[in-house]
């Protein structure tokens, strides 16, 4: 188990060195970004069973916080990343406290409204966010500015985030917290009767999930060197991340990563083949895959894989 894991990590670490093409490296970085983001959404939705449609807000808070701190105060995005994460955690905790009574559909609707408000705020608060025109980051390769001339450093930072995401999921899965969250998800009353402090446990999941989402938001902003409402805070980001997790396998350690590995290549191949001649085609395919998975393998692809492949059984 540990050896297999190490072998996979080693392969992932060597892989970028073999790929010389920037186009494929870009794909790899996007897989890492979305895989990690999907993992952090999964902490809340998968383990705690709280389906959030407002994670675009946390992603956006991360992207905007580090960018604004850099542009106005010259603060390194490495620090901005954590400031953004902490800010998102505070917002997440407030949202969690405000919505403490809401379950299932109601929680999804409340977070959807929250995500939409954050988007409207980013568009209309022009003096801070630059509105729809967005903010450009300085392109000046330096470690302090979290900006590099080649794609390789981004690949490795992305890989690190990706592995940290999986590691946290793995830790949660096998810890007391994971069992508490699953107990809460499956039957709240029973969990409470057995002494699980469901309120606190749920807030911990919310805090972890929003912190990680914001950190990945910062990394995404640094990678695309541009921040605007459409690319970092629109509601479709939440839908997309949910879709990756559900198709990959919700509530599993590797499911979210597998979701990203399935969808990102599809998007990139379509973009390479069609360019912009067929707008919306990749989203149609996303939608169809989501519907088919929900109808025929609602546990997700990872669970099916685990049944077939013996090595995965122990994860």
């Amino acid at each position: 188990m540990i050896f297999t894991g190490m072998a996979v990590v080693l392969c992932l670490a060597i892989l970028p060195l073999l790929i010389k093409n920037d186009f494929y490296l870009d794909g790899l970085i996007l897989i890492f970004i979305w895989g990690a983001f999907a993992g952090s959404w999964n902490i809340l939705a998968g383990y705690a069973g709280m389906v959030s449609l407002g994670h675009n807000a946390f992603f956006g808070i991360g992207a905007y916080t580090s960018t604004l701190l850099l542009l106005h105060f010259g603060l390194s995005p490495w620090i901005g990343m954590f400031v953004g994460g902490l800010l998102a955690t505070c917002v997440g905790l407030i949202l969690g406290l405000v919505c403490f009574r809401l379950r299932s559909h109601y929680f999804a609707l409340a977070t959807l409204a929250f995500g939409e408000v954050s988007y409207i705020l980013a568009v209309s608060w022009r003096s801070l966010t630059g509105g729809s025109e967005g903010l450009a980051l300085p392109i000046q390769p330096s470690l302090y500015l979290f900006s590099f001339s080649s794609k390789l450093p981004y690949v490795y930072i992305g890989l690190a985030l990706f592995l940290i995401g999986i590691g946290i999921s793995y830790a949660i899965e096998n810890s007391r917290l994971g069992y508490y969250l699953k107990a809460f998800r499956e039957n709240e009353d029973a969990a409470r009767a057995l002494g699980v402090r469901t309120g606190r446990v749920r807030l911990i999941a919310m805090a972890l999930s929003s912190f990680l989402s914001a950190v990945i938001g910062t990394f995404y902003a640094q990678y695309i060197v541009f921040v605007d409402p459409t690319s970092v805070i629109r509601i479709q980001i939440s839908v997309q991340v949910a879709l990756f997790v559900i198709v990959g396998g919700i509530g599993t350690t590797l499911g979210p990563a597998i979701g990203a590995m399935i969808f990102i290549p599809i998007t990139i191949l379509l973009r390479a083949q069609m360019g912009t001649s067929l707008p919306g085609l990749h989203m149609i395919i996303y939608g169809i895959i989501l519907v088919v998975v929900l109808l025929y393998i609602p546990q997700g692809i990872f669970v099916k894989l685990r049944e077939r492949v013996p090595i995965l059984k122990r994860i």
């Binding site: 389906v51 406290l97 879709l243 085609l281 609602p298």
Partner: protein, 308 residues
């Protein structure tokens, strides 16, 4: 603020609210009967608007007349959607139920984008270009108030249709079995009601209602592939404020949201007006998730707890 202007805003709000009410009744009906939130509800509104637009474009069919053609068409769409997407997930987890309609909405939006492009399309009616002027009423010190005829027609038809639907639900046999099913599913089943048939019917009727609202909106608004998303968010607000599953609640809160929207877009501008009703929405969910005009509490809400 001038009294005339206040009245003008109020009338605009009420006219808008009538259409919101009609559009939201379908959503609340579907939730009440099947306990699912149809995230693709706005897309059916968008499809109806396109049907109305193309009928006008190719056959010069009056949009108010084309409603008669569109209603059976969209009823059929509702039935097909029920069989393919809704029925297989009725017994699934909440997550599946949410994302099956999210997936459907993604497919419809982008298919429309692919086939008909992102162009904004609108139609104008030759007989409805001039505003109707009411007043002045010197006794009340109110000046002239303008009413847009397409909005007035849409309002009158929307209200008539909503009331007709309410009467249907209240007095017809079909309406009674729909209500019985929404009140207690297993009891209805024991009384020999064919639940599957009721679900199918309720879903299709819900889609027809939002489709009718779409047809009435076409002469007022422009249609584009993502118009449904803007409207569905408003519908969620209306339905939650009125109490999920409550038809009368949706009608009342349709008016409230219409008025709130008009006033907040005057004071805050077109861009930020949405922020206001989403904040209202979150506040309602937090304070009273069962809505203000709603029926009995939802079972999900019985877990009231304190955080240590």
């Amino acid at each position: 603020m001038d009294l005339t202007f206040l009245l003008q805003l109020l009338i605009s709000g009420i006219l808008l609210g009538g259409i919101y009410a009609l559009a939201s009744i379908g959503l609340t009906l579907i939730f009440g009967v099947m306990k699912i939130v149809n995230f693709a509800h706005g897309e059916f509104l968008m499809i109806a608007m396109y049907i109305s637009f193309w009928l006008f474009h190719y056959f010069q069919m009056d949009p108010y007349l084309s409603i008669l053609v569109m209603a059976p068409l969209i009823f059929f769409v509702g039935i097909v959607t029920y069989y393919i997407f809704i029925k297989p997930t009725l017994e699934s987890s909440v997550l599946s139920q949410i994302f099956i309609t999210v997936g459907l909405s993604t497919i419809i939006q982008n298919a429309v984008l692919l086939f008909w492009s992102a162009d904004f399309r609108s139609l104008s009616l030759s007989y409805a270009t001039h505003s109707i002027i009411l007043g002045p009423f010197p006794i009340l010190s109110i000046g002239e108030v303008m009413v847009n005829p397409t909005r007035l027609i849409a309002f009158i038809l929307a209200i008539s249709l909503s009331i007709a639907f309410y009467l249907f639900l209240k007095f017809s046999y079909t309406g009674k079995i729909i209500r019985a099913t929404s009140q207690d599913r297993s009891a209805a089943l024991l009384m020999g009601i064919n639940i599957d048939k009721v679900y199918k019917l309720a879903f299709a009727i819900g889609i027809v209602l939002v489709g009718l609202a779409g047809g009435l909106l076409m002469p007022i608004y422009t249609v584009h592939p993502f118009v449904g998303f803007d409207f569905v968010l408003i519908m969620f607000v209306v339905v939650v404020l009125g109490g999920m599953g409550s038809v009368v609640g949706a009608m009342i809160s349709g008016f409230i949201i219409g008025i709130v929207e008009v006033f907040s877009s005057y004071w805050l501008g077109q861009e930020s007006k949405q922020a206001i009703y989403f904040l209202v929405f979150i506040a309602v969910l937090v304070v009273r998730p069962s809505g203000f005009f709603g029926i009995k509490k939802e079972e999900e809400l019985e877990h009231i707890e304190t955080i240590e």
